[in-house]
Symmetry: C2
Subunit: 201 residues, 2 copies
């Protein structure tokens, strides 16, 4: 069953890449994979699911890894594991992932699906971070931290997809995290807020 | 024309609020606003547009205000103006905005539209921030800053929508920005990164 599922996905990605997502029918995918169209639909209820599936699996794996971490692991390190899990999955299947990503950004309906998947992931991430956060503002801290993690993943993946270098995703992730950590990313600040005192700079 | 447009929107929101978004037809909206269905479609090509329009206008106004700011305004202050513009628009029409927001989160197709609008806004914001940023990593800094601004707006609006207090949006924005500024939001950090030296804490 898992082999059939994988075969269908691989065949579909090859066809989408060759002739375009919109121009490829489920019948063509079924014929090329030597199964019936109903088998394709059983595994993938929509054509979109055949593509977005990859992203969904990657993000869910990263979330599961976070859930499995002992609560004693400090949050910054736990969140690094999330980002690094995504990096490992994508780099372990880099060629095909790049094809998938390019199909997604080119196709309107897939882009909408991707946004929905990312959004849900960010919400689940916020929930799990909230469980590991204390204090009166725990929910907001968790929501902001989840937004940061999601943004780093999205921005680094977009940079990797444009690049031809191996290891580009790891480098993009490192660069994004360094910018966040060193405070080089401007945060909205009202004019009335006094600048930080020189001793704390 | 602008009055007709406004009348249609107001009538639609009242009907959606009373009888639900999915159960309300364009014909009902047209009848209640005393115009023809084709007039409704001319102003609002989809039923979703009648609702998401509010968010779109709010975000576009904020983006226009950023574009109009002189380049000498430091980015943290310019980004504060963006967040504050959203706050002002929403608080200036608070009752109706809360109704609109609640309709959106309850309705699947609207939620998808909202995500699309937020996403596009974040991309336009990143572009404008990029124009105002220098250095080798300008694009990534801009993308991360735009993600931060969008997250603060989304998270603060969600908190305001749950609250019954006046001024709740301003307070939620302040709280979110304070958390980001003081470094209370955990940033993914590999275990191998040495903790900051005590003197810089």
């Amino acid at each position: 069953m898992e082999r059939t599922r994988q075969l269908i996905a691989d065949t579909a990605i090859a066809l989408f890449s060759e002739q375009g997502f919109d121009a490829t029918t489920v019948e063509q995918i079924a014929a090329a994979a030597e199964v019936g169209p109903r088998t394709v639909y059983r595994y993938y209820p929509t054509k979109e699911a055949l593509v977005v599936r990859f992203t969904e699996d990657t993000l869910n794996t990263a979330l599961e890894e976070l859930r499995a971490l002992p609560e004693e692991v400090p949050l910054p390190q736990a969140l690094f594991e999330v980002v690094d899990s995504v990096r490992r999955t994508v780099e372990g299947d880099s060629e095909r992932r790049k094809v998938v990503y390019r199909i997604i950004v080119r196709t309107r309906s897939l882009h909408a699906e991707l946004r929905a998947v990312n959004w849900l992931w960010r919400e689940s991430l916020a929930e799990e971070i909230g469980r590991r956060t204390e204090g009166r503002t725990a929910d907001m801290v968790a929501a902001l931290a989840a937004a940061n993690v999601a943004a780093v993943v999205e921005i680094a993946v977009a940079e990797w997809a444009r690049s031809e270098e191996t290891g580009a995703l790891g480098l993009a992730v490192e660069r994004a995290l360094a910018l966040l950590r060193t405070g080089e990313v401007p945060v909205p600040t009202p004019t009335s807020t006094p600048p930080p005192a020189p001793t704390s700079a």
